[in-house]
Symmetry: D3
Subunit: 227 residues, 6 copies
C-alpha cells in the first residue's frame, strides 16, 4: 500500500551531462519521436535547461506527503518526477521543498499537477515544469510510491531514466538507451548545424533535400496566379 525503493540504477552521469547540452526537440527526434511529455507541462519561468536522473514518485490527489519520502531518496544530479494518481491542479510543490531538494543537489522538478511560490522559485533559480500554477495547498495523509515506474503526462518514466527539460518541454530517455540516444542526438545536432549554415545563405529545403520530384509525383501543381 506504499513502497519506496532506496537504491536505483541511474544513467551514467557523463551521458546525462552531455544530453543536457542538447535541446529537448533534438533528443526527442533522435530517439524516434518518443518520450516527450504532454505539452501541458510547461516551465514556470523561461530559459531553464536541465538534465538529470529521475527519482519518481506517485502521489494521491492533493496530497504531497510522498514528496517528503522521495526527497530523501534523491542525490546530486537527480530530477524529481511527480505523477498524481488522479487529475489535480493543486499546488503540491513550493519554495520550501525546493530548498530541501537543492540541499541534496537536485536539478529541478517535473510535475503533472500544480506548483506554487513561482516568484521565489525563479529568484532562487530552481526550475520546475508543471501543468499549472496554483497556490492551493495539499495535505499529508495518504501514501503513494517512490522510485517505481510512473506514467507522467502520458509518458512512462522509470527511476534512473534521464530527464531533459528546456523551454520546449520535457523528454525522458530510457536509462539503457541513454548513450545511444546521446550519439544519435549529437549526430543530429551536427547535421542541423550544416543545414543551418546553408539555410542562412538562402538555400532552400526543397533543393537541399531534392524534394521537387517527390512533390510532383505526389501531385503538387504550381500555378502562376490564382484565378
Amino acid at each position: 500500500m506504499g513502497v519506496a525503493v532506496r537504491n536505483i540504477a541511474r544513467a551514467d552521469s557523463a551521458v546525462v551531462e552531455a544530453l543536457g547540452q542538447l535541446g529537448v526537440a533534438t533528443i526527442h527526434e533522435a530517439q524516434g519521436r518518443t518520450g516527450l511529455l504532454a505539452p501541458r507541462i510547461r516551465p514556470i519561468y523561461g530559459g531553464a535547461h536541465i538534465a538529470g536522473t529521475a527519482v519518481t514518485v506517485s502521489v494521491p490527489p492533493a496530497d504531497n506527503w510522498m514528496i517528503h519520502v522521495a526527497i530523501e531518496l534523491c542525490r546530486e544530479g537527480d530530477v524529481l518526477v511527480v505523477a498524481p494518481t488522479s487529475t489535480s491542479d493543486a499546488g503540491y510543490f513550493g519554495e520550501l521543498l525546493a530548498v530541501s531538494l537543492r540541499a541534496r543537489g537536485v536539478q529541478g522538478l517535473v510535475i503533472d499537477a500544480g506548483c506554487r511560490d513561482v516568484a521565489e522559485l525563479k529568484a532562487m533559480s530552481f526550475p520546475v515544469w508543471s501543468k499549472c500554477i496554483c497556490a492551493q495547498g495539499t495535505v499529508k495523509e495518504t501514501l503513494g510510491n517512490a522510485n517505481v515506474p510512473v506514467v507522467c503526462a502520458g509518458q512512462l518514466v522509470a527511476p534512473g531514466d534521464v530527464i531533459v527539460a528546456d523551454d520546449d518541454g520535457v523528454v525522458v530517455v530510457e536509462r539503457d538507451s541513454a548513450a545511444t540516444v546521446l550519439s544519435q542526438s549529437q549526430a543530429r545536432e551536427e547535421k542541423e548545424s550544416r543545414i543551418r549554415e546553408r539555410y542562412s545563405k538562402g538555400e532552400l529545403g526543397l533543393d537541399m533535400n531534392d524534394m521537387r520530384p517527390l512533390l510532383a509525383e505526389k501531385g503538387l501543381s504550381y500555378v502562376d496566379d490564382a484565378d
Copy 2:
C-alpha cells in the same frame, strides 16, 4: 436592474498593506486553504505583487459599460474586481481604463475574462490578473452591478474585502477576518522561515516533522532495490 453602491466599508489600510508583504500561497494556507480564485486567473506579466480593497463589478458578456461606473467608486488603494455574468473571453479592459484607474490610485485589476493592451499595461506597470489575453473589444449597452457581492473565478468577493495577488494567483480575505488572517499569515511566515533555514542545511522534512512512525503505521515499506 442595475445598482451601484457608493459607500462601502473597506478593510483597514494598515492591515491591507501588511498583507501585501505576504505571498498569496501563505495567506491562503493561513486562512485554512480558502479564498483562492481559480488557477485560470493569471498575471499578464510576471513579478507584480499587490494588495488592496475590492471594488466589485458584475458585467454582462462582452460589455464593459459598468467598469466606467465602477471607476468612479474607486479610491486610493483599491483593486477592481470584475466578474462577467456569463463566460467570456472578450477583452473588457485595456490601457485607457488603466490610466483612468491609476489616476484614482487603484492598485490593479482582477478579471475573470480577457484583457488587452498588455504591452502598454506592462510598460506602465499596471498589473492585471485575467483569464486570458484577447484584443476583442466590448460594447457599452447593458447594465450590471457595482459594489455588490460577486462570485469571481469561483470565489465570493464582497466590496471592501482584501485582494492579494502575485505570481501564484489571487486570494480574497474577508474584510472582517483581515486582521486575524494577517497575524496567522505572519506566524506561518515565521515558521516557514525557520523551516527554510533547516532545509537549506540538509535536514529532512521526514525528520523535522517526525513523519517516519506515521508513515510506517500507514503501511509504507522501504525496499532496498526494485525486483
Copy 3:
C-alpha cells in the same frame, strides 16, 4: 490534390509598414471588431510586434512538408500563416525553418498548431504566434496547399492580406481594405491619445462621454450604502 500559387497580389508595403506602428487591438476596433484570430494564438515570447503580407499554407496533421514549399513563395516583408486541416498540437516549426525564412526577409510566423525551439527563436528574435509549444516533430509525406485562402484560428486569411501581431494577438486586414483600415486606425489612435490625456488628469469616462443620462434611462440606481 495540392496547389501552390506562385504570384500573389500583396497589400501595399507602405500601408503595411504604417499598420505595423499600430496595435492589434486598435486595428481590430478600427475595422469594426473583425479579423481577430482566436485568443488561443499567443506569442512564444513577449514584446514582439510585426506587420507583413500573408503567405498562406494549409498543412496536414503533423506534416510540415508544405512549409518548405511555402518558404520558396515568401519574399521580403511577408508573414507565413500556417493552418492545419485538423486540430494538432505538433511542433511544425522550429529554428531551422526560421533561419530559412529570415534569409528571405520574412517577418515572422503565425500557426494554429505547435512551435518548438522557442529558446533559439527568442535568441534570434524571430517571432512566432502559435497555439502551443510542443517539441513533437512532424513528417514530410502529404501535400497541402500554398497561397490559397485558409481559415486560421477562426479567421479567413487570403494570400497578400496584412497580418499584424503583437502581445495582444493577431489580426488580419483584407488586402483591399488595408489603406482604409490604416486611416481609421490612425484616427482611432489620435482619439485615444486625447482620451488618455484626460483620463490621466482624473476625468471620468462617465463625464467625458456623457454616460450618466443614458445609464439612468437604462435603470441604473445609485444607493449610498448597501443595506
Copy 4:
C-alpha cells in the same frame, strides 16, 4: 476546522415543488439572469428534472468523507450540493451513496467534480449533475464543512436555497426570493406560451416586438442581393 450545521431554514416546499414544474432557463431569466451554475455542470443522463432544497457540503480534493456527514443532515425533498475546495475530476459520488440519499428522500445531487456508477444511477433513476464522469475514487481523511454557504460552479449556494436542475443545467434560487421568483417565472411561462402560439402560426419576432424601427435606428441596412 470543520463545521456541520444541523438545522437549516428551507424554502417553502410548495414553492419548491411549483418551481420544479418550470425549466431552468425560464427561472434563470425570471430572476434577472442570475443564479446559473457554470455550463460545465451536466446531467449524467438525459431527461431528469428536479427541484429541491439545498444541503451544502464543501469537500477537500478527492476526499468524500464529508458527504457522509452531509447525508445525515438531509431530509425528504433536499438536493445535495457538493463543492470541492480545489479543482478535482475525482469520482466523489456513486451508486451506494445514492442508495443512502434515496432512503432519506433526497431528489438528486449537484457536484462540481466527478461522478461514477452512472449506469447504476441511471437504472435507479437517481439524477446527478456533475462536471465529469470519472471512476477514480476518493479517500475519507480530511474534514470540510456541511450546511454552510458554498460557491459551486461559480454560484453562491446557501443551505435551504432552491435548486432546480434539468437538461439545460442547474440554477439556484435564494430561499427568501423563491416565492417571488416563482410568480415571475410563471408569468414568463405564460407569456412564452402566447409567443409560442403566435410563432407557430408564422408570425415573426420582428413584428411581434416591433423591432424594425429600432433595428433601422441602430443602422441595419437591408440589401436585396449580395454584390
Copy 5:
C-alpha cells in the same frame, strides 16, 4: 454597421436532398477532407441527420437580436448557421425560436455557442448542433450581419452553401461544388459498400489494398514474439 441580405442563391434542392442521404464523414472525405466544422460542435441529441442550405448570421457576444432578423430570411429547406464574433457560451437559441424556424420550414440550426431548452427541442425533434448547452440567456441590443459569409467553428460558410449534419458533426459544401461533391460522395459510398461486404467476410484491408509490400518497404518488421 449591420447588413442583411434578402436574396441569396441557394444550392439546388435535389442535390441538397441527395446529400442528406449521405453521412458527414463520407461527404467530408469525398470533397478532399475539407469543410468540416471543428469537433466542438456536437448535436444536442443523438440520431438527427439533416441537410439544407445555409442562411448565415454573425452575432455579437451574448446578443441574439440578429437571429430574429435572420429568421425572416429563411425559407423551406434552410439551415440557420450562427457564428458569434467573439467566443461565447451563452444560450442564444431555445425552443421559441425553434418554433418560429419550424414555421418557415427550416431543417435545423448550427451554432458555435450555447443552446438551451434541449429537452423541449428534443421533444419537438428540432435538431441543433452547438458548442455547448447553457441556459444563460442573451440580450437584443447590438447588430450583426445576416446572409454574409461567416467563419463558423473554423470553416467558411457562405449563404446558400449546403450544410449536412449528423452524429459525427457538421460539414459545409460550397454551393457551386455541391453536384460534384454529391457524385463523388455517392461513388465513395458504393465503394465503401463493397469494402464492407468483404470486411464482413473476414478479408483484411492489408490484402484488399495490397498494403504488405509498401509496409515492408517503409520498414515494418514482424516479430513472432516480444523478447
Copy 6:
C-alpha cells in the same frame, strides 16, 4: 522504425469474462485505485460494457495505417487499444474498420483520439471509447508499432492486459494480476452488496463505519443552527 508482434500472451479468458461482469469503478478500487484511463475517454454511446485482452497499437498523428496491421493480430475476445504518438482529434476509426474487427471477434475499441460513424457503430452495437467524435479522416503513410506496450490516456497498457470498459470509463488490469484483481473485485462487490442493503434501509455510513469518534477527533463540530 515499425514493429508488429505476432504472438502475445493473453490474460486467461475465464478471468477476463468474469472481470467483464464487474464495473470499472469496482475493479479500479479493488486494484488499489490504479489503471484508470483519463476521464477524457468516453463511450460513444451509453450502456456498453465489455472486457477483453488488449491488442495495442501506437499510431502517428492522423494516420491510421497501423490499425490495419493491428487488425490482423486480433482474435476472438480482444479489445483494440489505439494510442497516438501526439495529441490528435482526427477520426482514426469508423464503421468499416469495426466491421473488419467484428469479423475477427473483437469486443470493442479504445482510442485516445477521434472516432467517426457513431450512428452506424451504435446501430451495429460495436462499442468505442474515444477522446472525441470527429469526422476528420486520416491517411495511411507512416508506420507505428503494434503489440508493444503503449501509454494510452495516461495509463501503461501492455499487449495481453485486460481492458474493462463501461459507462464510467476504461480500466486496464495487468495480465499477471488479473486473477488476483478478479477475486479482490468480487470481494469488494459482495461487500458493497451488503452495504447497499443496509443503506437502502436507512442506515448511515457514519454509523456503519463508526466514523463519529474519528470525525470528532479530527475536530468536526456540530452546531444546531447557523448564527
